[in-house]
């Protein structure tokens, strides 16, 4: 076991430049797809929270069971073995947790709080900015956290269509039947996911208000 880790360490050191590049690619994939996903799914979530429990949310809940690798292969005919395909697959992957949590976050704000706000003469915009959004933030953030962790893990798939990221070492290790190389990808991915999870849950706790 220790031998294995040692071999992993040596391999990473001997490929240091490549490793940092792969890490940067990985983070870039995550950041880009997370951003696009947030820009699209947060407004949809806010909009859908105002209606009855909607088709939108149910559709996305169902969508969750489609494996991201399937989405990836569906994108390939249109965008080829490209970074675009990878980003599309990852963006779609991040939709459900962000959308569902955003919907729930705004939906579960107590009607009494809204009524008090309207009754005191706040405009719709003021209520949204000063009351609803601050109260919705912790639950929304929980969705973003889930999405980010999923993205960090799933961005590994990008390497299967040759667009880099830490999955590079997973693919290579697999091809060469060398677990130590595979771990050069797998361990940082796991640590990264763990780190992001802990950081965001810390932030979430910090902004959480007790109701």
């Amino acid at each position: 076991m220790l031998d294995l880790l040692h071999a992993t360490w040596l391999y990473a050191q001997s490929h240091a430049a490549e490793f940092w590049g792969a890490l940067a690619d990985h983070l870039l994939l995550v950041a880009v797809s997370l951003s696009i996903s947030m820009v699209i799914s947060i407004p949809i979530g806010i909009w859908s929270s105002r209606g009855q429990r909607t088709v939108v949310i149910d559709a996305f809940s169902t969508f969750r069971v489609v494996p991201s690798i399937a989405v990836l292969f569906l994108a390939i005919p249109f965008f080829g073995l490209s970074r675009t395909s990878a980003i599309i697959a990852l963006t779609l992957l991040a939709f459900p947790p962000i959308l569902i949590n955003t919907d729930a976050a705004y939906r579960t704000i107590s009607p009494a709080i809204r009524e008090a706000a309207v009754g005191m003469g706040m405009t719709a915009g003021q209520i949204w900015r000063r009351v609803e959004t601050p109260l919705a933030l912790p639950v929304m953030l929980a969705g973003i956290r889930t999405a980010t962790v999923e993205l960090v893990a799933s961005a590994t798939l990008a390497a299967f269509i040759g667009v880099g990221g830490l999955g590079l070492y997973v693919v290579r290790g697999f091809a060469l039947y060398d677990i130590s190389i595979l771990l050069v990808g797998a361990i940082p991915v796991a640590l990264l996911a763990l780190f992001i999870d802990l950081t965001l849950s810390g932030v979430q706790r910090h902004i959480q208000v007790s109701v």
């Binding site: 107590s110 009494a112 709080i113 008090a116 009754g119 003469g121 109260l135 208000v209 109701v211």
Partner: protein, 316 residues
């Protein structure tokens, strides 16, 4: 001029068979405390919410200070009307001070004015500002939260305050304390208060005048005493317990029934009672102490005497 005047106000919700409020017409004098009383579902909340236009009437007009309430836009109107709801509705992510500052802030007061106003309001509802200003609602008891709710409604210095069962969720003792505090506030500030409750005791205790409602209709609008004395119909009689004499005595002040001091009056140890106590309190003192005469006082000064016979006579 009346602070609030309802003129043939009705509300019919879409897809609901019965009328929530039917043809309400009455006027609330400036500075008076008017209580809307009636069983659940009779339309109290609907009537109240039409004043600050959270609900728009189907027909009829509500005049505020003589002006049609639809003449100004709804948010402007609401900033001039204090509003306390049963569930309190404090904003959990804001401190007590931030909650109280909402309306002054919407009215664009200066920072210094707002800070001073917040402290003034908290002191008014008996929450020492230094101690409570920076707390969050979750760090307060239910009764304290209600006080903050009242402070928040008063902060913009509205002339009219709407309160929808504001003390419904607190225990009986806290409730009495809050009622006392509210009465004192009202005496000091002379706001026009429209107060919803389905608790008869609370209504009798607080009201200058009561609106007794059932099935969307106003059955009687009068002072608590007149309603107890002359209930308009059997429903009102039963609801307010008009046949309960002790309840009636609770509404008559000692000074109304007392006799002036006899010329040869000497105070030799009879129990005393303040002149603004109720006859009910006088009665319990008479029975409890086993005496026949009470000395009525204004402050420390004896101003009259009260006997069991006078109480009896007053009832008839």
């Amino acid at each position: 001029m009346s602070a609030i005047r309802f003129e043939n106000v009705s509300k019919q919700f879409a897809n609901v068979g019965h009328t929530a409020v039917a043809d309400a017409t009455f006027a609330v004098a400036e500075g008076s405390f008017v209580v809307l009383l009636g069983p659940s579902g009779c339309g109290k909340t609907t009537l109240l919410k039409m004043v600050n236009r959270l609900i728009e009437p189907t027909s009829g007009v509500i005049y505020l200070d003589g002006q049609d309430s639809r003449a100004v836009d709804a948010t402007t109107l609401r900033r001039q009307i204090g509003y306390v709801i049963q569930q309190i509705g404090l904003f959990p992510h804001m401190t007590v001070a931030e909650n109280v500052a909402i309306v002054p802030d919407l009215l664009k007061w200066s920072k210094e004015d707002i800070a001073a106003r917040v402290d003034e309001m908290l002191a008014l509802v008996d929450l020492p500002p230094a101690q409570y200003r920076d707390r969050y609602p979750a760090q307060l008891s239910g009764g304290q939260q209600q006080r903050v709710g009242v402070a928040r409604a008063l902060a913009g210095d509205p002339k009219v305050i709407l309160m929808d069962e504001p003390f419904g969720a607190v225990d009986a003792i806290t409730r009495i304390g809050l009622q006392d505090a509210l009465l004192q506030l009202q005496r000091r500030l002379h706001k026009t208060i429209l107060f919803v409750t389905h608790d008869v005791e609370e209504a009798l205790r607080l009201a200058d005048k009561m609106v007794v409602m059932k099935d969307g209709r106003v059955h009687q609008y009068d002072t608590p005493f007149n309603i107890l004395k002359n209930p308009a119909n059997d429903f009102v009689r039963e609801l307010v317990g008009a046949d309960d004499m002790v309840r009636q005595l609770g509404l008559i002040r000692v000074e109304a029934a007392m006799q002036p001091l006899p010329p040869d009056f000497t105070h030799n140890g009879q129990p005393t009672i303040p002149q603004d106590s109720s006859l009910r309190q006088a009665l319990s003192l008479l029975l409890g102490d086993g005496v026949t005469t009470l000395v009525v006082t204004d402050g420390a000064e004896p101003v009259g005497v009260l006997t069991l016979r006078q109480i009896q006579r007053y009832r008839e």
